[in-house]
Structures are given as structure tokens and as C-alpha cells.
């Protein structure tokens, strides 16, 4: 089990992000990927979740474009990673309305900015990393 006096699930995740890696967990009891990172696996209750690094390729599962007063509209999407987990992120391309469900995407790490640690975003897969 994760020792919460030395590190947290989110701490490990962010450390991977700083290495340019999208990390997730794997539950050997169910053979399933787990995301967001946790101490205990959902359902099975496994306390020995294994950290893995995603290859960073996925498919857009759902998409929206958020309109905020005084700012350009921006994309928010749910991405199904090939390893079998889903996460919220955004697809960065010129027109946020052009993001399509089923579109193949590749992860890119958004750089650290002040108090905001680096976090994974996606670009169209054909655009490369």
C-alpha cells in the first residue's frame, strides 16, 4: 500500500507528469486500468495497485466547447486511453469545434505554470508529439 506519510497518489502522478509521462494504475486482481490514482482499487479493494506509464494514445469519447465571457472558447473532452482508462482533458487544435468523437489523439504535457503542475493534454494523433 502507498505510504501516505511519504507520498500520495496525486504526488506520484504529478512526478510522472514532470517527467513528461502520463501515469495510471493497474489492478492485477481485475486486470483493469485504474484512473484517477488511488490508494485502494475501486471494486476489488486491492491495496497493491501498480503504477504504469501510458503510451499516450487514445480516442475522443465525448467533447464539448466551453464558452467563457471575455475569453476564447476552449475544448474539454473525455479521452479513452488505449490501456483502458478514461480521463478528462482537452484536445488542442485550431478550432475546438472541430474535435470529433472517435478522433485519435496523442498526449502532450502542458508545461508547469506557477502553482499549476504540468498536466496532460492531447493533440490530433497525426500531428505527432
Amino acid at each position: 500500500m502507498q505510504d501516505l506519510k511519504t507520498d500520495s497518489p496525486n504526488g506520484v502522478y504529478v512526478a510522472h507528469c514532470r517527467n513528461g509521462e502520463l501515469a495510471y494504475q493497474y489492478d492485477s486482481a481485475t486486470g483493469k486500468a485504474v484512473f484517477y490514482p488511488r490508494v485502494i482499487a475501486p471494486g476489488s479493494g486491492t491495496d497493491t495497485l501498480e503504477w504504469r506509464v501510458s503510451a499516450g494514445l487514445g480516442t475522443v469519447y465525448a467533447t464539448t466547447v466551453v464558452h467563457t465571457r471575455g475569453a476564447d472558447p476552449h475544448n474539454v473532452a473525455l479521452i479513452d486511453l488505449d490501456e483502458g482508462f478514461r480521463m478528462m482533458s482537452r484536445v488542442e487544435q485550431a478550432d475546438p469545434m472541430a474535435v470529433r468523437i472517435g478522433q485519435r489523439v496523442r498526449v502532450r504535457m502542458h508545461p508547469e505554470n506557477g502553482e499549476q503542475p504540468p498536466y496532460p493534454v492531447f493533440v490530433p494523433a497525426e500531428a505527432g508529439a
Partner: protein
């Protein structure tokens, strides 16, 4: 839910507080207390009769304590279940268990919010989520927009069909004297309204109003001696499926499929038995999802089901007859207002919007981002 007895309790008193925009300085507890007073007057009971208190609120950390203090109540039984807008349907289920087991005899469920007055951001501050907040979703709207995008992709649902839900709600609201919206609405106006989170425009989103409500429940035996016709609780069902939208297993199927099946099984009823459907319409996609998941049409057909004014006054199914969260009122956690409208429809006191021969009503609550789904089936004496 198994373990509970069909028709063992009834809603005997029901009332709204002031709705819309309340005076500066009004507190959420003022509204809860006002609604409680009105609901007790509605059934002819007094504060001294209340021995079970159930509340939820987003502006109060401990709303049951706040209301008990305000009204001088010392209940034998209390429950502050807070799972969003469906909390009050859960309170009905939990009150049913408590009354059946003699833990209390007269249950009060109350809610109040001043979110219009103090702003939605102040009334419902969101938790920071390191896996969602950096992407700046406009929650809850963006979560429902994601579900809508998926529904459109899988089933060909259109923005026009979503707009039908808003237009139908508006037509019902125009028949309700206390509804917030007073002017007609067209599909074109919904489509051209300011975009919030595509595909949802501001007219696909619920209102931001102040308001509150209260219902009083007691045993069926005691209910028959009170002033108003009882609205018997025939079935209840609960389903919690996720917290954040990224954790929802399938964005086109909600937990209503589970909670509805539980409630129908307990009641011995099916969708075709329902005369009035009160479905938590925080966003237009909700109504479509719940019509499907509660068995009014097959999965994927919700958009086509609502087309052509089918859920508007005079349509094939009476849905959200008070005007819904979209056009009547939406004080943050709206579920209690659905229970109030259901009881009123069953009593036959809804005036211009009354559903003829209304014997069975479904009040379906939704909380979080399609996260908690709780269904209550209510019936008049004729449905027992």
C-alpha cells in the same frame, strides 16, 4: 427498494417557499422555515407533530441542525443525506424506512436556497479536482454537455430535439402562475441563445433562482385523517454511479435505469402506468436520458420521443408540468420541487396545468453530474 412496503406512507403536506428572487438578507433557513410552515398548514399538522427531520442544502454545512435550531425542533430521527438534487427523493425512501420501523411518525423534508441572490458560485462552491479543474470545464453544464455530445454521436439526437425539451417546459411554465419565466420560447430562440458549453445554450440550462420547499410525510393510516388527499409512496429506488463525469461508466445510460427499475418493481407498475412524469431537468439532455432510462421510450429514442411537442401541454406524455428547472424555478437542488408538483397533480389541484385523472406520478431526482439517481413513484388512493 426491497424491504419497504408499497403505500406504507404518504406525502400529506406540500408547499413551496417564496420562489424566484427573495429580499436581501433572506437566508436559506428562512425559506426552509417558511415552506415548512406552509406545508404543515397544508395538512393541518403543527410543529409539535414533527418528530423526523430530513434536509439537504448547499449553502449550509449542517442544514438539519440549522433548521431544527430555527424552528425549535428536537426530532427523534434525522437524516442529512446530501447527494445533490436527488437528496430529497432519498429522504423519502429513508423516511419510509424510519416510519415503517417506528423511528418517527411525522417526517419533514425541507430545502432552501438563495443562490440567485448570492450568486451560484457563492452558493455552490466546487471542490478542486486535480484531474478535472485544470481543463476548466464549466461545471455542472460541461458535464451534461459531454453526455449530450455522446448521445448525439450514438443516436443522432439533434440540438433541435434538445430544444424541444426547453420549449415544452416553457409551455408548461406559462400555465403555472408562480413560474419564473413568463414569455413564450421557440426552438429557434433556444438554438440562437448564448452558447454555454456546446451543444448546450443558456436555454438548454436550468434557471438560477432562489427558493425552497417542504413536504410532510406520515403513515398511510394517519394520512387518511388529514386535510388533503394523500399521495402514497408506491415505490422508491436509488442508484449512485460516480462522482465526476470522467468516472461515469457510459454517458448515455444513467443510474435512473437502476433506480427506476427498483421503484417500478416495488410499486408493481411500469412506465405506461404513469400519468405525470416529473423528471429532474437541470439541462435539456436530462429529460431525454430519463425518459429512456425510466422506460418511456427505448434507449436512443429520447430525442425523437420529445419531438413535435410530445411532452408539452396536450402532448402524448405530461412531463414537468410545473415548468421544470428550465422555466419554473431551480434553486440549486431542485428535487423537492418535483415531489411537491407530483403530490399536487395527484390531488388534482394544479388548475390550468392539471393532468386529467392523474393517479400515478413519477418524481425522479438527479444529483451531481448525472451521479445520483433516485426515483419515487407516488399514487392517489385509486392507485393503491
Amino acid at each position: 427498494m426491497s424491504g419497504l412496503s408499497r403505500g406504507s406512507i404518504a406525502i400529506v403536506g406540500a408547499a413551496e417557499s417564496e420562489l424566484g428572487q427573495v429580499a436581501p438578507g433572506t437566508s436559506p433557513v428562512d425559506l426552509m422555515a417558511q415552506a415548512t410552515f406552509r406545508a404543515l398548514a397544508d395538512c393541518g399538522l403543527g410543529l409539535a407533530d414533527v418528530d423526523g427531520v430530513f434536509t439537504a442544502a448547499s449553502q449550509l454545512r449542517m442544514p438539519t441542525l440549522s433548521l431544527c435550531d430555527y424552528l425549535g425542533l428536537r426530532p427523534r430521527y434525522q437524516d442529512g443525506t446530501g447527494i445533490g438534487g436527488s437528496s430529497f427523493m432519498s429522504h423519502v425512501a429513508h423516511a419510509m424506512a424510519a416510519i415503517e420501523h417506528g423511528l418517527c411518525e411525522v417526517a419533514l423534508i425541507a430545502y432552501g436556497s438563495t443562490q440567485r441572490s448570492v450568486s451560484r458560485a457563492a452558493a455552490s462552491p466546487r471542490e478542486y479536482n486535480p484531474y478535472e479543474t485544470p481543463y476548466r470545464p464549466f461545471l455542472p453544464a460541461s458535464a451534461y454537455a459531454l453526455a449530450a455530445s455522446r448521445h448525439m454521436h450514438e443516436f443522432g439526437t439533434t440540438r433541435e430535439q434538445l430544444a424541444e425539451v426547453a420549449v415544452a417546459a416553457r409551455q408548461w411554465a406559462l400555465l403555472n402562475p408562480v413560474a419564473w419565466e413568463k414569455a413564450p420560447l421557440s426552438i429557434q430562440q433556444v438554438l440562437e441563445a448564448r452558447m454555454v458549453s456546446y451543444p448546450l445554450s443558456v436555454r438548454d440550462c436550468c434557471l438560477v433562482t432562489d427558493g425552497g420547499g417542504a413536504v410532510i410525510l406520515t403513515s398511510a393510516a394517519r394520512a387518511r385523517d388529514l386535510k388533503r388527499p394523500p399521495a402514497y409512496v408506491l415505490g422508491v429506488g436509488e442508484c449512485l454511479s460516480h462522482a465526476s463525469i470522467s468516472g461515469m461508466p457510459d454517458l448515455t445510460t444513467t443510474g435512473a435505469a437502476v433506480s427506476g427499475a427498483q421503484a417500478y418493481a416495488m410499486a408493481g407498475l411500469a412506465a405506461q402506468d404513469v400519468d405525470a412524469a416529473l423528471l429532474y431537468d437541470a439541462f435539456t439532455i436530462n429529460t431525454i436520458l430519463f425518459l429512456e432510462d425510466l422506460g418511456f421510450c427505448p434507449k436512443g429514442e429520447g430525442g425523437r420521443f420529445v419531438a413535435g411537442g410530445a411532452i408539452a401541454p396536450g402532448g402524448r406524455l405530461a412531463v414537468n408540468t410545473a415548468g421544470g428547472g428550465l422555466s419554473y424555478c431551480h434553486p440549486g437542488m431542485y428535487g423537492l420541487l418535483l415531489l411537491i408538483e407530483a403530490a399536487r397533480q395527484l390531488r388534482g389541484e394544479c388548475g390550468a396545468r392539471q393532468v386529467a385523472n392523474c393517479e400515478v406520478a413519477i418524481a425522479h431526482g438527479n444529483g451531481g453530474v448525472l451521479s445520483s439517481q433516485v426515483t419515487v413513484l407516488l399514487g392517489s388512493e385509486a392507485a393503491l
